[in-house]
């Protein structure tokens, strides 16, 4: 069964690239442009991995992350956070909020996909 990936980011350009690459790898991909849509998709799409951008309007990535972990029953989902600031404090906050991985923009999309693959393979093996 193909893994399901939810990409949550309000920047269309990067989303396009990620979606393309993920689909090429054979994953099922859905996109959410903001946090609220993301939370809804969490319930309906039930992804295995969420790529979550921190800087988003309305509901920011930290909140989405925290709510996924606390409110939703699917707390086994892997959360990979993206951010533009990359500060030590921010990374720690993300991890404390419940993210499993953290990547700073700008990043290599290919490397990101590689990471996703590794993590999902590990999870499958568990």
């Amino acid at each position: 069964m193909a893994h399901r990936i939810l990409i949550v980011d309000d920047e269309p350009n990067i989303v396009l690239a990620l979606e393309f690459l993920m689909q090429k790898e054979g994953y099922e991909v859905r996109i959410a442009e903001d946090g609220e849509i993301a939370l809804k998709e969490m319930l309906s799409f039930k992804p295995d991995l969420v790529i979550l951008d921190v800087m988003m309007p309305k509901v920011d990535g930290f909140e989405v992350c925290q709510r996924i972990r606390t409110e939703q029953s699917n707390s086994e989902v892997i959360i990979l956070m993206l951010t533009a600031k990359g500060r030590e404090v921010e990374i720690e906050k993300g991890l404390q909020m419940g993210a499993d991985l953290y990547v700073t923009k700008p990043f290599s999309t290919r490397e990101l996909v590689q990471k996703v693959k590794e993590t999902l393979t590990q999870k499958r093996q568990q």
Binding site: E63, R67, T70, E88, V89, M97
Partner: protein, 685 residues
């Protein structure tokens, strides 16, 4: 006695006049009226007797009731004027002077009270001036900016504690020394020149220069400096003042940041333009050969990675530096939290502190407000009035952890808090304040169930790793405004009055009495005298490693042993240091010849030369007090009323010698020895 003679003279004159009148009227009576002689003689005699007796009686009465009181008044007035204005005239009653004594008393009292008023006014004016002066000294001493006042030639008249801090271990900082020994000359002189020239032009009221950067000669510090010209009271000479701020660290940081930015931007240019070129080529030539296409794609990939690499570097460096630029300072976490706790307890929130001694680098005011703000918000959200704050040290941050009994704060709530303005701030929100410290906050459940926490990371200060310096209380300012401005040039020094010169009174301790047989100096100290006063706070005291064992016998004498000098500099470095401290001042010592023997032996190898005059308090004492054979330091001190303290330590002995020398200057002056030249003559005999 003089008045008695006068009165007697008057009395005699009266008698003579009476006799003459009597004779004339007797003769007239006899010849004109034919009165018989016998009657005439009888009449004359009886009248004469009566008159004499009356005159005598009058004389006696006046003498007692008029003349003597007047005499008493005469001497009494002298006493009133010279000695005791409240003196009461000792006039026995029954005098004929009427109210005169009372009037004189009233005059005397009025004179006395006028004198007291004047003296009170003077001393209260002096007291107010003194109080004002002390207050100004405190203010100047507390200033962060350094303040130095110099005379026209650049000799230092005044400097404050901040300057002492800037020139911490520099012996060349001292009253009467030149400022150009400490700072670069050119920028100061240029600014002075511009200000002075302005005086004739349009800007003649301008007394302050624009700020410029002045470098210190030995510490390698950069001072943001302003020059101010200060006319003296008669506007005949133009002293100047420098106000300076040590900006070395900021300048350094700014320079590094500038260089780094410029470097990285330069590195970014090639990859970005290469990227652009390749992309453009591909777009404009969609049917490009596959091989060519592959090459371009490869280029794009490489250059893109390069650009990203440099960009990340740039972002990282800027991040590190920008959190230093704010008005952040080093503050103790426990102090801050304690302060917040006090304020919060007034609002009904109890804050228990479990804190270590952790130093953070933050805008203490803002951080205080953040803590108060968070405590209040947690109380409102969780409904608790008791919080605990723990501080923990992490890699580069100190965590301020708030613990309470209840649920954690969801991020949506925290996001709302970030948009609110902090307590005392008109324009700073929590989010901005956190940003200022490169910080953020988050809340989650505590390990202990039923409890929640909120974490606030704050950058740790480098002070955490540095041991505290001992902060001895010091004079707030160092000044001598009575220094004669524009000191006389070297050639006239022999004619300078002793009181006008600057001296360094010094003393050495040695391993023994024979410099030619291997004895060495183990301690040098000096005390500065300017304008006949010891400058407190400008002393030199240095232990010296003699490069040989210190014999027991000498240790017993001066208390210095081998372990005390193990880490001390050798005599060459010590002498060089001492030479800088002395500068051009005249040296004074007790039996100075002894100390100079040791010093002269090392002059060449230490590359110093003490060419100035050397005065000897022992020789002065022999000259001034040749009536006694006792000229030890103790004896002379006792004779001149100098307190003996710290005897047989180098600095202690220098102090005693300095006090002795100051008194000797007075005694020498009294004996006619007023100038340096004359003093040196005394030393020769």
């Amino acid at each position: 006695m003089g008045s008695r003679a006068r009165y007697a003279g008057i009395f005699v004159q009266c008698v003579v006049v009476y006799a003459a009148l009597a004779t004339v009227s007797a003769l007239a009576s006899y010849y004109i009226y034919g009165v018989p002689i016998k009657t005439l003689v009888g009449l004359a005699l009886s009248f004469g007797l009566a008159t004499v007796l009356t005159l005598a009686a009058l004389f006696a009465v006046f003498s007692r009731k008029l003349f003597r009181p007047l005499k008493i008044i005469e001497s009494g007035l002298k006493i009133i004027l010279d000695a005791n204005p409240s003196h009461r005239l000792e006039i026995p009653p029954g005098h004929l002077l009427g109210d005169l004594p009372e009037s004189i008393h009233t005059l005397g009292d009025s004179y006395s009270s006028t004198r007291m008023e004047i003296s009170e006014a003077r001393s209260s004016a002096e007291y107010r001036m003194e109080a004002k002066k002390s207050y100004l000294e405190l203010v100047l001493g507390a200033m962060n900016d350094g303040v130095i006042v110099c005379d026209e030639k650049g000799s230092i008249i005044f400097y404050n504690k901040a300057i002492k801090r800037i020139f911490e271990n520099n012996e060349m900082l001292g009253l009467g020394r030149s400022i150009y020994l400490l700072c670069a000359r050119a920028p100061i002189e240029n600014s002075l020149r511009m200000l002075r020239e302005d005086k004739h032009g349009e800007n003649k009221d301008r007394n302050e220069s624009a700020p410029f950067i002045c470098s210190t000669l030995h510490e390698g510090k950069l001072l943001s400096t302003r020059v101010h010209i200060l006319p003296d009271m008669e506007a005949t000479s133009w002293n100047f003042m420098l106000t300076c701020e040590d900006v070395s660290r900021q300048t350094d940081t700014m320079r590094r940041k500038d260089n780094m930015l410029r470097g990285l931007i330069k590195k970014l240019k090639p990859p970005l333009s290469n990227l652009d070129a390749s992309i453009e080529s591909l777009i404009s030539h969609p049917d490009i050969q596959p091989q060519k296409r592959t090459s371009f794609e490869k280029i794009m990939e490489e250059e893109s990675k390069s650009a990203i690499g440099y960009f990340n570097q740039l972002a990282h460096e800027i991040e590190d530096m920008s959190s230093v630029q704010h008005i952040n300072s080093d503050v103790l976490s426990e102090d801050l939290i304690a302060c917040a706790a006090r304020k919060l307890s007034q609002l009904g929130i109890s804050l228990t502190i479990v804190a270590d001694t952790l130093w953070v680098n933050a805008d203490s005011n803002t951080l205080l407000e953040i803590i108060e703000f968070l405590a209040l918000r947690i109380r409102d959200y969780a409904g608790v009035s008791a919080l605990e704050v723990h501080t923990l040290l992490h890699d580069r941050h100190v965590y301020f952890d708030f613990y309470w009994k209840g649920a954690p704060v969801p991020h949506s709530e925290i996001a709302m808090w970030q948009g609110r303005k902090l307590g005392g701030q008109e324009f700073l929100t929590l989010g901005e304040a956190l940003e200022q410290h490169g910080s953020d906050i988050w809340s989650k459940p505590h390990e202990v169930s039923g409890y929640a926490m909120l974490r606030l990371p704050i950058p740790v200060s480098s002070k955490q790793w540095v041991s505290p310096l001992s902060n001895l209380p010091e004079r707030p300012v160092y000044d001598d405004f009575s220094i004669k401005l524009c000191q006389t040039p070297e050639s006239d020094i022999l004619d300078t009055p002793l009181g006008d010169l600057s001296y360094v009174v010094f003393d050495t301790e040695t391993t023994g009495l024979n410099p030619y047989e291997g004895d060495e100096i183990v301690s040098i100290s000096g005390v500065r005298i300017i304008n006949q006063g010891i400058v407190v706070g400008e002393t030199f005291d240095q232990l010296v490693n003699p490069g040989r064992r210190i014999p027991e016998s000498s240790t017993r004498f001066h208390g210095i042993n081998d372990s005390m000098v193990a880490e001390s500099p050798d005599v060459h470095r010590a002498l060089k240091s001492f030479s800088r401290f002395v500068g051009g001042s005249i040296l004074v010592g007790h039996n100075a010849a002894f100390d100079m023997k040791f010093i002269k032996m090392k002059e060449k190898t230490a590359d110093v030369a003490f060419k100035q005059a050397v005065l000897d308090t022992l020789l002065f004492s022999l000259y001034l007090h040749d009536h006694t054979p006792d000229h030890t330091l103790d004896a002379i001190a006792r004779r001149l009323g100098v307190e003996i303290r710290d005897r047989h330590t180098s600095l202690g002995d220098s102090m005693i010698t300095a006090e002795i020398f100051l008194r000797q200057i007075y005694l020498l002056n009294a004996r006619g020895i007023k100038t340096l030249g004359q003093a040196m003559e005394v030393l020769k005999c």
